[in-house]
């Protein structure tokens, strides 16, 4: 009844090509923004920020990044953890080398550095395809983690081999270090998420996004109709790594504060982000958010129910979580291979006809 195009006349090309052509969607989008920026920062507490909101926002950025590469450009990557490590360590080196520059600029620069590394590891994708590429990206994962472990320059020769974020301020409010308020963490991540999602959405519906999708659907055909595969694949790797790098930098600087590379950026992170985009939906920005929310909330929920509610010990709950995550992935793939985003799309189609479907 409310969700329809009828009566919403587009009178200019700008109107016609807007992101949310349906008025209800537009208002919903503004509503989410208002809640996210205007209400949540005032009511958020430490538990919600650390357990739910901040990891959700950070993984949403990483999932958008991987979704660009895997969902839009069709290049499967298992190197996400390694690229996040590049972002984290780049951010650390920049923060300690240039203490006077704003942390926001460091986070962005960390993204650009990761983009460079991503392009380097993306080069083989011009020759290697499919599964072979997925395994090739594992090289990035293991090599990068090893490098950050073994080359002391990256962790400033600290005795523990860890990196820990020094205290930095944005507009006089601490955002990294030991004295960060929950809302400050949340706001930094939110600003980056909003920026990244906006950028990703507009990239994917423009020329470059279309060339990615052409490569995904059939690379030889795309080449014949004039898409440059070199450019398309490498830009996909660059943009994707840029987002993943920012996510890695945020994970280190804002969320964890101190990081041991094998633990924070291990192969498990690569799979976690991959699961997010599968469950959320390949090739959809909304899917990245939905998948990140799902994979962040599920362990919290299970922990609350099993450990808090039933009194099991945590080891048992962790094993159970593995079983449930594994089963859910299989169930999702069987029931809806295109993920939560597809369910959302179907719901919208239904809503459009509601309440008179015939």
């Amino acid at each position: 009844m409310f969700y329809r195009e009828a009566g919403d006349f587009k009178t200019s090309y700008v109107d016609d090509s807007q992101t949310f052509p349906i008025a209800f969607d537009r208002y919903r989008y503004y509503f989410v923004l208002v809640v996210a920026f205007g209400i949540i920062p005032f009511i958020i507490n430490d538990y919600w920020a650390n357990a739910v909101m901040v990891p959700f926002l950070i993984y949403a950025i990483a999932a958008i990044g991987l979704n660009i590469l895997t969902g839009y450009c069709g290049q499967v990557s298992l190197g996400t953890g390694g690229f996040m490590a590049v972002g984290g360590y780049a951010c650390y080196k920049l923060m300690t080398a240039f203490p006077d520059v704003s942390i926001m600029i460091h986070l962005l620069l960390a993204g650009f550095i990761t983009a460079g590394v991503g392009v380097l590891f993306g080069l083989p994708s011009l020759r290697i395809k499919g599964f072979y590429l997925a395994v090739a990206t594992l090289a990035a994962q293991f090599f990068l983690v090893w490098m950050f472990n073994k080359v002391p320059w990256f962790y400033n020769y600290s005795a523990s081999g860890q990196i820990s974020a020094p205290e930095r301020f944005v507009f006089g409010v601490p955002v990294t270090g030991p004295n960060v308020e929950a809302w400050a963490k949340y706001m930094v991540c939110l600003v980056f998420v909003t920026g990244c999602a906006w950028l990703a959405r507009n990239l994917t519906r423009g020329t470059i996004g279309r060339s990615w999708m052409a490569i995904r659907d059939m690379d030889i055909a795309a080449e014949i109709i004039g898409v440059n595969p070199l450019k398309a694949k490498l830009t996909a790797f660059a943009v994707s790594s840029f987002f993943i790098g920012i996510a890695g930098a945020l994970l280190f600087a804002v969320y964890l504060g101190a990081v041991e590379v094998g633990e924070a950026y291990g192969i498990n992170k690569s799979f976690l982000v991959l699961f997010m985009i599968i469950i959320g939906g390949l090739g959809s920005i909304f899917g990245a958010f939905a998948g990140a929310a799902f994979m962040v909330l599920l362990p919290v929920l299970l922990k609350n129910v099993l450990v808090g509610g039933l009194g099991w010990d945590t080891a048992l709950a962790t094993h159970f979580e593995f079983v449930i995550v594994g089963a859910l992935i299989i169930i999702f793939l069987i029931a809806e291979p295109h993920g939560l985003a597809q369910l959302w799309k179907l719901a919208k189609e239904k809503l459009r006809l509601w309440p008179f479907p015939h």
Partner: protein, 331 residues
């Protein structure tokens, strides 16, 4: 002969032995990939699960003891009997066949005609599921697996090779277990090849690998073949699990060895059984030699990534691997 050279030879020999173990895991991948086009990420976890089950049955553990105790507040852990190794292996094999049937019946059958990437993701889900079930069933602590295989360095080899070098050289240090593993791998490969070449089921399996539809149209049951192939992969996983478990204990890191099998596959090609063996040997020798020669200069622990980088560089020049079928693309 100079000692340095002999140490190098020893490294190569040990590399070959490690390579055999990689090849064992890789074999399971190849079997499933050839017959159904599924890239089975869960192969390593299957090895872990098989080894866990074997230890659990041998020691008479109560399955799901942890879970039962948590739910009912009981304190059961062991049945109090020990099962002989051979019987336990047979029981484990029965479980792996049941697992093969369950995978086919509940998962793969519903995913027919999906894109390969979706199937791949499904096996990742399967890996997680199986890992969780394995831990729930048998607990997650590191276990010792002892099925009566010989252990320790072979004195015979050491004594009979010591004369090659000077006084600093005490002969080649080779684990007996590694030699057994090499032998078992050789027997396994011969048996698999013989099975595929000379039995009715083996022929059907090759037919399915060639062309699903043609195989279906001459009356070969795809479902049966897929269960068969997954069972075979389960068997290979059991063998690999026994070998790795006897070598380094049954623990979670076993499933990471599956990841090591991936570069082996890339080198050898996804569709070739000899490729899996040769790839395994190349990777095993390569990483040990690299660690021996270059490793100390750049900080060591290069075994973590060397295999992947080697495979990556190799693929840039030969995208289908050593023995893989040439990739022909059509629009």
């Amino acid at each position: 002969m100079p000692d340095q050279f002999l140490f190098g030879v020893e490294v190569v020999l040990n590399g070959l032995m490690a390579g055999v173990l990689y090849a064992l895991v890789a074999l399971g991948f190849v079997l499933i990939f050839k017959a159904s086009g599924i890239f089975n990420y869960a192969q390593g976890v299957m090895a872990l699960f098989a080894a866990l089950t074997l230890v659990g049955i041998m020691e008479g553990q109560v399955p799901f003891a942890h879970l039962i105790n948590a739910i009912f507040g009981t304190e059961v852990h062991y049945f109090g009997w020990n099962v002989p190794a051979l019987a336990a292996i047979l029981l484990t094999m029965v479980l792996m066949i049941f697992f093969a049937w369950a995978v086919n019946h509940f998962v793969m059958r519903h995913l027919v005609n999906q894109e390969p990437i979706i199937l791949f993701m499904a096996t990742i889900g399967l890996a997680y599921f199986l890992e969780g079930v394995g831990d729930l069933m048998w607990g997650s602590e590191i276990k010792k697996l002892d099925v009566g295989l010989p252990q320790g360095a072979s004195i015979w080899v050491e004594e009979n090779t010591a004369f090659l070098g000077t006084d600093n050289f005490f002969g080649f240090f080779i684990d007996k277990l590694d030699m057994v593993a090499a032998l078992v791998a050789a027997v396994l490969v011969i048996a698999l090849v013989a099975f595929a070449q000379y039995t009715k089921q083996g022929r059907a399996m090759r037919a399915v690998a060639d062309d699903h539809q043609a195989a279906l149209s001459v009356g070969i049951s795809l479902n049966f073949i897929w269960v068969l192939v997954w069972s075979l992969a389960g068997f290979v996983a059991l063998v690999a699990g026994i070998m790795w478990g006897a070598k380094s204990g049954v623990q979670f890191s076993l499933s990471l060895i599956a990841l090591k099998a991936l570069p082996v596959l890339m080198l050898g090609g996804f569709t070739s059984i000899p490729g899996a063996i040769v790839g395994g040997l190349i990777i095993g020798v390569g990483e040990k030699l690299f660690e021996f020669t270059i490793g100390p200069m750049i900080g060591g622990a290069t075994e973590n990534w060397f295999a992947y980088v080697l495979a990556l560089l190799f693929l840039v020049f030969r995208p289908q691997g050593l023995f893989g079928e040439k990739i022909i693309e059509r629009v």
